[in-house]
Symmetry: C2
Subunit: 386 residues, 2 copies
């Protein structure tokens, strides 16, 4: 079982507390702007762009079909690819571990240690938090994990224990570790402390945006996009922005984005069906987003007062967007990081919404670049066939 059993409620004030707890351990990552991407997003898609999409036949040139959407968009990129271990996951891992120590005391937590299963960014995040706070971290990884990920988790001082690749196999290994060591389970996303930790991304974004624009303007971000994998980041950010509009200030709408390849858009499908999708099997290139949304996360994301919508994009659109970010912004992102930006560039339904609701002013849209953990070889493989 997961501990602690007494959960903090998912509220903005608990995100503020989470930020106080973790801020000396994490990077205050920059909020960047980029003129080229603003221009691209604010240019209607051409007929050629729309061939093979659900919007084929719409184009800016008119000529019979409905015109392509013509939104005005200014982006604010929260660069969690520059976060420690290269992804936002450091926030949740530090928060969960610091909360455990608060509740059980250093001695007990250091004696028992913590355990998780992950072959991705959460493994390194928990390893780093464990190393920093002097708590043994046991990471259950499939034995087929890439050697570089195993090595970098070990380099952070974690003990890596191998398992098979299926859920029951890794669960069995995890339980064995718990029996032998008493280690406390810190799940990758399905836990309030993780969600509150990731929510600090929203807190920082809002502050940085206001600083950039000058608070006098009294206008917040119109919208924020995060990727949805397990839903920790999206659930946390939505919790932060869940305060109602006040003093004439428009509420910041939070949106989620997923890959659509092989049904990886489990959240979008679940929302359509009114029921959480429990399992996903996909090989989307957005490998951080191959997991189904967790229980705690679903409770937030399925609440329409918190999430304004979830969109999905194709792997080809993810590749196009990743190429733009690397070549135009000159920052390295992993495929999972760009799904929100891809929606803004390519999804005509969303773009029409911005055109209609944003009008002449347009929208200021926050985009969370969730991580940057890729390799030059992986980039090469991704773009080799182009």
């Amino acid at each position: 079982m997961t501990e602690p059993k007494s959960h903090l409620p998912l509220t903005p004030s608990n995100i503020t507390k989470a930020h106080s707890l973790i801020k000396s351990y994490i990077h205050h990552t920059p909020l960047l702007t980029n003129t080229t991407l603003n221009t691209l997003a604010s240019t209607p898609q051409s007929a050629a762009d729309l061939v093979g999409t659900p919007w084929e036949g719409h184009s800016s040139s008119g000529g019979g079909g409905a015109a392509a959407a013509s939104p005005r968009i200014r982006f604010y990129f929260k660069c969690e690819n520059f976060q420690r271990i290269g992804a936002f996951k450091a926030r949740g891992a530090f928060h969960a571990l610091l909360r455990l120590i608060e509740e059980k005391g250093e001695d007990e937590v250091r004696r028992r240690g913590v355990v998780t299963h992950s072959s991705g960014n959460h493994a390194q995040a928990l390893a780093l938090a464990g190393k920093t706070l002097n708590v043994p971290a046991y990471i259950v990884m499939p034995s087929i994990s890439t050697p570089s990920k195993i090595a970098s988790t070990q380099a952070l001082g974690a003990k890596v224990i191998f398992s098979g690749s299926t859920e029951p196999e890794r669960e069995a290994v995890k339980q064995k570790v718990q029996q032998e060591t008493g280690a406390i389970f810190i799940p990758p996303y399905d836990h309030p402390d993780i969600i509150l930790g990731q929510g600090t991304v929203g807190l920082e974004m809002e502050g940085q945006y206001e600083e950039l624009k000058g608070k006098a303007e009294g206008k917040g971000l119109d919208a924020v996009f995060t990727p949805i994998g397990g839903g920790g980041l999206n659930g946390g950010v939505a919790t932060w922005f869940s305060v109602p509009a006040n003093e004439g200030r428009k509420k910041t709408l939070v949106f989620g984005a997923e890959p659509s390849f092989e049904g990886a858009n489990d959240c979008q499908r679940g929302l359509a069906a009114g029921k959480r999708v429990e399992a996903v099997s996909t090989k989307t290139i957005a490998d951080g987003l191959r997991t189904p949304v967790g229980h705690h996360n679903w409770a937030v994301i399925s609440d329409p007062s918190k999430i304004a919508g979830v969109y999905s994009v194709t792997d080809d659109q993810i590749k196009k967007t990743m190429k733009l970010v690397l070549e135009r912004m000159k920052v390295v992102v992993e495929p999972s990081a760009v799904v929100g930006l891809a929606v803004c560039l390519f999804d005509e339904d969303f773009r029409r919404k911005v055109e209609q609701e944003g009008g002449e002013d347009g929208w200021d849209i926050g985009i969370v670049f969730s991580g940057g953990n890729t390799t030059v070889e992986a980039i090469g493989a991704l773009f080799a066939s182009n």
Copy 2:
């Protein structure tokens, strides 16, 4: 001939003036730090690292041979890869064009236009400056240039004229353009206005470093590295830091770095021979550094009171360094941008110097990332065989 004929002297105060002229047209690029790269640079190389290098047999483990150097290094990265058009070249191009307008008046410069030959970053820089200041820009490019570079130069409103690939061929085309249009030649690097413009990189770095460290400390950067191609950037930065040490403040030493592949280290070779090398033919992956150092540039770089040394690195070391920067810092750099960092990581002579002169305190080293103009396909090709 190049105009204007009355050249500004290469002095720090003329760089200050250049900065005032151009600063509203360029980005004030960030000065970034990175703990991982500091740690790597401050760790002695192992025996295995040194196999096949001139320092083979030296290693940190001792065992007979001399130990590998053990310097303490903290880096400050000036990110000109985030500059407009993706490289520092925007600075020199804007400065040269603004100076022309100052001297000859807007009307004459707009009537005649400007011309240059470049297949690289200078082409786009001059195109951007021309577009911004409403001056026609004629760019002579070899017809074998990559289509994407031709397209992006044209997208910036420049008129691209094709030539053969040899120096006489492009010179003939350039002269023909000048005869037909009266366009004024703005060379890529061999001109004082270009050198002064690029020198603004040094001015900004020094200010940003002091802001970061708190001026109270009264200590400047110990050293700065820039790449050397034609020598505009290195000559400009060396000019900025050419003020002698004062009030007990140590002078910032300026170093240059070149690729060694197929003799691309023309500057290093020229310094050894006491004579500028006039022609280079190399296919180093650092394609921005395939040119020989210019005349004006040589006058600065061959002055030992301005340049403390020039080092060179192999293409393999450039690739290793580029991989580190993309994967650890998560910023996109072109191969030419990392030669200085490669020296700090791999050159035992330089590392020994830092160990001996920096001692326990070590050195704060400024590294100019000169540009980030590469593509995901080029990255893929570079790292495909690894």
